[in-house]
């Protein structure tokens, strides 16, 4: 089954993903990614399992080396490294665009990533997975 913004329970997050989807429909790719970024940053605050998963991913030596070498674009919980990058250096995580234009296919990937992440977080899937792994 394909996921949709309506599958999100939290009204604020659902509204952001609905706006992202509408932007995608209209070819406003960058706006779609901006709304997804807003939702992702909010999800980091709202779901401890997402933040925990992200920290775990970023602490992994392979991922660190891959990011350093610029060959890693996707990792679990990590905002994909296409047109916009996650910056964890400041007091709060933020997302920085490093180019003006965003391709449609990139916008789709950000949208799918954010939608899946939030729906799974709301279903508590990550906590269950961590528990199963004894992590």
């Amino acid at each position: 089954m394909a996921l949709h913004p309506a599958d999100i329970g939290d009204a604020g997050l659902r509204s952001l993903l609905e706006a992202a989807n509408a932007a995608l429909d209209d070819g406003r790719n960058r706006e779609c990614v901006e709304r997804c970024a807003d939702a992702y940053l909010r999800a980091l605050q709202q779901f401890p399992a997402v933040m925990r998963g992200l920290q775990r991913a970023l602490a992994n030596e392979e991922i660190k080396a891959g990011i350093e070498a610029k060959v890693v674009r996707v990792a679990p919980f990590m905002w994909p490294r296409f047109a916009a990058k996650l910056d964890m250096d400041g007091p709060e995580p933020k997302i920085i665009f490093d180019r003006k234009s965003v391709a449609f296919v990139e916008a789709i990937q950000y949208y799918e990533f954010t939608l899946n992440l939030i729906v799974e977080a709301e279903r508590d899937a990550f906590s269950q997975r961590f528990a199963a792994q004894g992590a």
Partner: protein
């Protein structure tokens, strides 16, 4: 379900020599053409050939348009698939892509399948100056411009991030209108869903199970019907997957014919598609096949587990569990990696898939047919499999199993697709 052959043009170095013999590349190209000819005579529907660069031993197919053009003159019906053309402009400028696809479509009487992709190894991306974080955008821009060039008369010009091209009439135009069926390559579920959203066929390289195929078919069609924003002027609703392949009258003979093909396929893919993007490869020096053969099978499995564990760590998976297994020297019953890309490589190396007798293959493939999969591509040429054995497998399957699947494709699958396409709001160009 339809069937085809998938070619990487694998060419392992001879074990006892540091490099290939003077005739080896010539031989593999000629054998490939003979295999395509035979498949065409027997009624296989597709041949797809990759575009890779510098991936020694794993893929010597860097100019698929040449092989497909040659095949077009030796065959009558088989569809000629680019699996894929690299459309980031540094690899192939969109003007040249449009011209080549159109010319191939003309000389083949309209038999081209236009698959596209972006590549995923540092050996390729680094050589052509394609940044990892821009390759997806480059793929899309190159493809969009090439499609406009095939369909606009004249092409109105374009100024973008990666392509700048003036107004010109790009000729020739393809025979299939508005353009040949479109496909996009990918190994992850996400890419399959992206294909649906863009109105493209999915060339899935994940060696998925029938259960996974069923879920993907369902979700793909849901997105295709409800959320498709076509990248071209016509959509190609189609799902295609890969399987290792060898067929013989007895199970033992099928396994013998398959030889080390699947294991080498997975081993060599793991060498290039790892977290360093293949940066540890020494061009012209690394002897992959010797490394493969000199690694005892159980150690090979451990090596594979470590590589996949690293990959899983990056893409999501059971890193800790796999590392523990590797460290403890446990060499059996490796769990399938959670991550899809890693799992695809694991399956390519470690599962039987379509290797067996006609009856075994009939049963195995019927599950994908029931999942409404459109196309199954066989990786017949792989590792050190012998040409004679590949030909015998293609022939036996083609004579004993293929006809009944072709019949059911017409009588059952096509009506199912027609129902799926009822009320569909986009033009369709598809060979399914």
């Amino acid at each position: 379900m339809k069937f085809g052959l998938f070619f990487e043009l694998q060419l392992p170095r001879p074990y006892d020599s540091d490099t290939w013999g003077p005739e080896d590349e010539h031989r593999i190209y000629k054998e490939t053409l003979e295999q395509i000819e035979l498949a065409d005579r027997l009624g296989y529907d597709y041949v797809f050939e990759v575009e890779h660069h510098h991936l020694e031993e794993y893929a010597h197919s860097s100019a698929p348009e040449i092989v497909l053009a040659a095949a077009s003159q030796r065959t009558k019906s088989i569809r000629l698939g680019h699996g894929i053309v690299l459309t980031p402009p540094p690899y192939n400028p969109p003007g040249r892509i449009a011209e080549r696809i159109s010319a191939l479509d003309l000389v083949s009487d309209g038999r081209v399948e236009f698959g596209s992709g972006e590549s995923s190894t540092e050996l390729e991306l680094g050589a052509y100056g394609v940044p990892w974080d821009e390759k997806k955008a480059m793929w899309e821009e190159g493809l969009r411009v090439a499609l406009r060039m095939m369909t606009e008369e004249p092409f109105g010009g374009y100024e973008g991030d990666h392509v700048s091209f003036p107004e010109r009439n790009v000729v020739p135009k393809p025979l299939q209108k508005p353009h040949p069926p479109l496909w996009v390559a990918g190994g992850r579920r996400e890419t399959v869903l992206t294909a649906a959203r863009l109105g493209m066929g999915s060339l899935g390289f994940s060696f998925e199970t029938p259960e996974e195929a069923e879920e993907r078919v369902s979700t793909y069609w849901e997105l295709m019907r409800g959320e498709c924003r076509p990248i071209g002027k016509a959509v190609n609703p189609a799902l295609c997957i890969l399987s290792q392949f060898a067929c013989a009258e007895t199970d033992e003979e099928a396994v013998r014919r398959a030889g080390d093909g699947g294991a080498f396929f997975g081993f060599s893919a793991g060498h290039y598609y790892n977290t360093t993007g293949g940066r540890d490869h020494r061009p012209g020096r690394t002897h992959l096949y010797r490394e493969f053969r000199d690694t005892p099978e159980e150690e090979r499995l451990l090596m594979f587990q470590r590589r996949m564990a690293r990959r899983a760590a990056i893409h999501g998976g059971q890193q800790d569990q796999l590392e523990q297994l590797a460290g403890a020297g446990v060499a059996t019953a490796a769990p399938e990696p959670e991550n899809e890309t890693a799992r695809g490589l694991w399956r390519a190396a470690n599962t039987r898939s379509a290797i067996g007798t006609p009856d075994q293959l009939r049963d195995y493939l019927a599950k994908y047919e029931q999942a409404h999969q459109d196309v199954m591509l066989f990786v017949a040429q792989s590792g050190t499999r012998r040409h004679e054995d590949i030909m015998a497998s293609i022939e036996l399957f083609g004579r004993t199993v293929l006809p009944e699947f072709k019949e059911r494709h017409e009588t059952q699958h096509r009506p199912w697709r027609r129902r799926k396409l009822e009320g569909f709001r986009h033009p369709v160009v598809s060979s399914i």
